[in-house]
């Protein structure tokens, strides 16, 4: 069964009445279990779970320390280009936005790489918009060849590819994929992706699975929180991660929890996700998927990120910028505004002061 089929099974599911019917006793039962099933996960996402957040947090913390230790992997994004043919209502790179468009030359990629590597980071996430014309797979491959000299792990966050193309990038030295479905609800998906190849919901939905089949080592998924009812979106994200984890046993599956940030253009979130809501999602995910990686990016404020640290987080970005050429002198407008401007050194100091080991390297090119 594909994940699309699995989602279909939930199309008729009465979320509103189920969530309203969850009782304190249900939450107690869920918390007493060692391994959670889908309904348990949904229970923990319900309003009734709010009074149990502290207990969930204690359990989430213990599970995370047991599985990952007091260790946080640090990485940073590197924007290669911002050319994009899509019209996503919520994104600064939207083709209709009049921003400076740029694509790094290989020399510029090298300069950026050198600047980032000097901060001590060994894991990099490279990003582009969707433009097969400006940033074809061959361009990504060329960039990876340069970056391999500076980093131990290279992940991509680009437009969805075919299995063969993922295989090509794995062979070039890419070991991780980040790809957000943005929104799992197909109706909303269609509404906010106004034009462009990204309108193809199913091609995107199956992309993480294609990457697993192409032997990508790590696959990171997520929903852009704020685009639709967060309880349902968080639920589907967890189901998607569980589906991949069960089917592709040797791939490391992670989940990101990106909240919609201000950007160029105007798009108001449809479902406001408060700090408390984000904490609830994070805890529910950790209890449902004790072995999954969880990423919190610089979309979140410094102080809030620090507080999330012991609740199940395993990866954090540092020294981030979302513009093309951000580590050089001339940068473009960013994809979205970042809220945590701390440098790698500052993040390092924060982690150490809180009794966590900043992890710079967790892979080695073979």
């Amino acid at each position: 069964m594909s994940f699309a089929d699995k989602l279909l099974k939930y199309q008729e599911f009465p979320f509103a009445s189920y969530l309203a019917g969850v009782t304190g006793a249900d939450i107690e039962r869920t918390l007493a279990k060692e391994a959670l099933v889908e309904r348990d996960f949904l229970n923990l996402l319900s309003e009734q779970a709010v009074p149990y957040l502290e207990r969930m947090a204690q359990k989430a913390h213990q599970l995370t320390v047991q599985n990952f230790g007091r260790v946080i992997l640090l990485y940073t994004p590197l924007y290669l280009a911002n050319y994009c043919v899509n019209q996503c209502a919520y994104c600064g790179f939207n083709v209709t936005n009049r921003i400076t468009r740029k694509k790094l030359t290989l020399e510029e990629v090298e300069k950026e790489a050198r600047a980032i590597a000097q901060t001590g980071l060994r894991h990099i996430l490279i990003l582009t918009g969707e433009s097969r014309h400006h940033t074809p797979v061959s361009y990504i491959e060329d960039c990876v060849r340069v970056l391999k000299n500076y980093f131990d792990s290279i992940s991509i966050e680009i437009y969805p590819l075919t299995e063969e193309e993922y295989g090509q990038l794995v062979a070039a030295g890419v070991d991780g994929l980040t790809l957000y479905q943005e929104v799992y609800d197909p109706v909303t998906y269609d509404e906010i992706h106004l034009a462009g190849p990204k309108k193809d919901y199913r091609f995107r939905l199956a992309a993480p699975e294609r990457a697993c089949r192409a032997r990508m080592r790590a696959v990171n998924i997520g929903a852009l929180l704020g685009l639709q009812d967060w309880r349902k979106e968080a639920f589907f994200t967890g189901l998607h991660a569980a589906y991949l984890q069960d089917k592709y046993l040797d791939t490391e599956i992670s989940v990101s929890l990106p909240r919609l940030r201000p950007h160029v253009g105007n798009f108001a979130p449809r479902s406001v996700v408060s700090d408390r809501d984000l904490v609830q999602i994070l805890l529910a995910l950790r209890l449902f998927l004790p072995r999954a990686g969880i990423t919190i990016s610089t979309r979140e404020r410094a102080e809030f990120r620090d507080n999330l640290l012991p609740l199940g987080v395993t990866k954090m970005s540092a020294g981030s910028c979302t513009s093309v050429g951000g580590h050089l002198e001339e940068a473009t407008e960013g994809q979205f505004d970042i809220a945590d401007q701390r440098s790698v050194r500052e993040m390092h100091a924060m982690l150490v002061s809180r009794g966590y080991q900043p992890l710079y390297k967790d892979w080695h090119h073979l």
Partner: protein, 256 residues
Amino acid sequence: MEDKLIIGGQELESRLFIGTGKFSSHEIIPKVIAVSGSQVITMALRRVNFSNEQDNVLNYIDKKCILLPNTSGARNAGEAVRIARIAREAGCGNWVKIEVISDNKYLLPDNYETIRATEILAKEGFVVLPYMSPDLMAAKRLEEAGAAAVMPLGAPIGTNRGLMTRELIRILIAEIKVPIIVDAGIGRPSQAAEAMEMGAAAVLVNTAIATAQDPVQTARAFSLAVQAGRMAFLSGPGAVQEYAVASSPLTGFLHK
């Protein structure tokens, strides 16, 4: 009485091997090594940061210790072999702990791929210590393939559940000639002592020490437990009886 563990031609006093993962900082590692007296220290090659002296875990391990790089992250024999070669070229010595895990959920080892990697690496002169699911036939294959020791799991990695595989490990101890080192799952010093009492040659502990409130004291407790367990094994504990043994036996008159 002299009681040394010999692996790969090396004589070891300490029967507690320790891991370097999951600690809140590298600075704790030398203290843990010092109080535990451990002589064999394992580290994931994937995490050794060769480009930063301060972050490089190798710089926190006493030079007198034997490095046991592990192949964490390997999904098959081919990857394990490549990681082992990289570790040796990088100066980590010729010991290797093979860890082939193709299941990220339970982190259970793939015995079949582990045997294949052991065959290749033993031929290349490595001292190979394969991490495995305790299965007698697989352990025999590993022994034939040239493993210097066999490392069955007590319970899945990081679970601190103790010797859940006790009966299977007991059989390995009885049937396999190379040392049996219980790796993974040992959560408390008493469980380490139990493994040693059963006749395990050594134990490897990481999570239970690294994630303890006080890792240094915990390491000391494990070290003492391993010594006590070993001593108990060597001295041959009394047999367990179903009934109390009366000090004034009823049939004593027969022997008068």
